[in-house]
């Protein structure tokens, strides 16, 4: 009985959705409304107006920076929500979780120690070069967060936690949102609108500086948040 109901729901959802996507403008045509309406301006003027050769970065940090502002708030919300539901004390976080105390292979820790600096350099490249090539603050931050997780798994949680000192941890977790609000308010005060950048004819390096400040903020915030979420979920009460 339940199976029939499930199949009925799926069919009822499939038929209109498939019919609707079949009638969408044909996949991949350059003449589709999506590819002709707003895009020419982004592609032609983006690097010049918004300041980054990677037009995706132009869109996420400048044209639609407010969305990204919302995005970093979403992930901050997820962190606070995880902390509030799981409620872990710092001491529990530092303890090695039970069932996890098997001796680790020296080869694993050697390999991790050996590749960690390279991963770290790669993340810095992603963050700082994101406005010119694929990548950006969030990608770099996520990979750095994954690196911290890797280090705490192989070298113990104490080591991982020492990378984010407890005193500064709340600030690091809030870094992304704070960077956005700071740049936004600066733009408000100096350029007339929240998250507005100085225009091209004005100081070019200021604009690039703001982009990089945002990238670094997102990177630091993302890394701190992912690492903390991991520690919180991993700790036993």
């Amino acid at each position: 009985m339940k199976r029939i109901a499930v199949i009925a729901v799926l069919v009822a959802a499939f038929v209109p959705l498939a019919a609707a996507v079949a009638q969408l403008p044909t996949f991949g045509e350059a003449s589709n409304p999506t590819n002709t309406y707003l895009v020419p301006r982004y592609l032609q003027k983006g690097p010049e107006e918004a300041g980054a050769a990677n037009v995706v970065t132009d869109v996420i940090l400048n044209y639609r920076g407010y969305d990204t502002n919302g995005e970093v708030v979403v992930i901050f919300t997820a962190l606070i929500a995880a902390l509030a539901t799981l409620l872990v004390r710092p001491k529990q976080m530092a303890a090695t979780p039970p069932g996890d105390d098997a001796p680790r292979s020296p080869i694993v820790s050697f390999v991790v120690k050996a590749i960690a600096p390279f991963i770290a350099v790669f993340t810095v490249y992603l963050v700082l070069h994101g406005h010119l090539s694929p990548g950006g603050g969030f990608q770099g931050g996520t990979i750095f967060g994954a690196l911290i997780i890797l280090l705490s798994l192989t070298l113990g949680h104490k080591y991982g936690l020492s990378l984010l000192p407890e005193r500064s941890r709340p600030w690091l977790q809030a870094a992304a949102v704070l960077a956005f609000i700071a740049v936004g308010l600066l733009g408000w005060a100096l350029c007339g609108a929240y998250l507005a950048y100085p225009s091209y004819s004005q100081l070019e390096w200021v604009r690039e500086g703001w982009l990089i400040a945002l990238e670094i903020g997102i990177g630091v915030g993302g890394a701190a948040i992912f690492a903390t979420v991991f520690w919180t979920m991993e700790a036993e009460p």
Binding site: V6, L10, L17, A22, L24, Y42, L43, V59, A81, P134
Partner: protein
Amino acid sequence: MIRALWANIDYVASVVLFLIGLYAVIAKNNLIKKFMGINIMETAVFALIISVGTVRHGSPPIMGAGARAPFINPLPQALILTGIVVAVSTTALALSLIIRIYRQCGTIEADELRRLE
């Protein structure tokens, strides 16, 4: 109709993935499995939105030396970057809740939880 479906086979694949995810959410009993289903639905929607902005034989929207037209629409990509972060945030919260539920009730099967309620 069939021809239109075939021309838009990428969109149709997204719809199929969306429904596979929906099936897991409705029919699966395990909460972790349900959430894997929601994650599949999310990626399906993202794939649809990315496909909408694709140009056949286009190149990524990164300007600089050697870049050549036609370029691919950067706007959906920017939206999906945001979308992916939203998805992982939802997952993190859901999994924290699942861990709590397991600690309090000792099970994460939906029907057993309903019986405990």
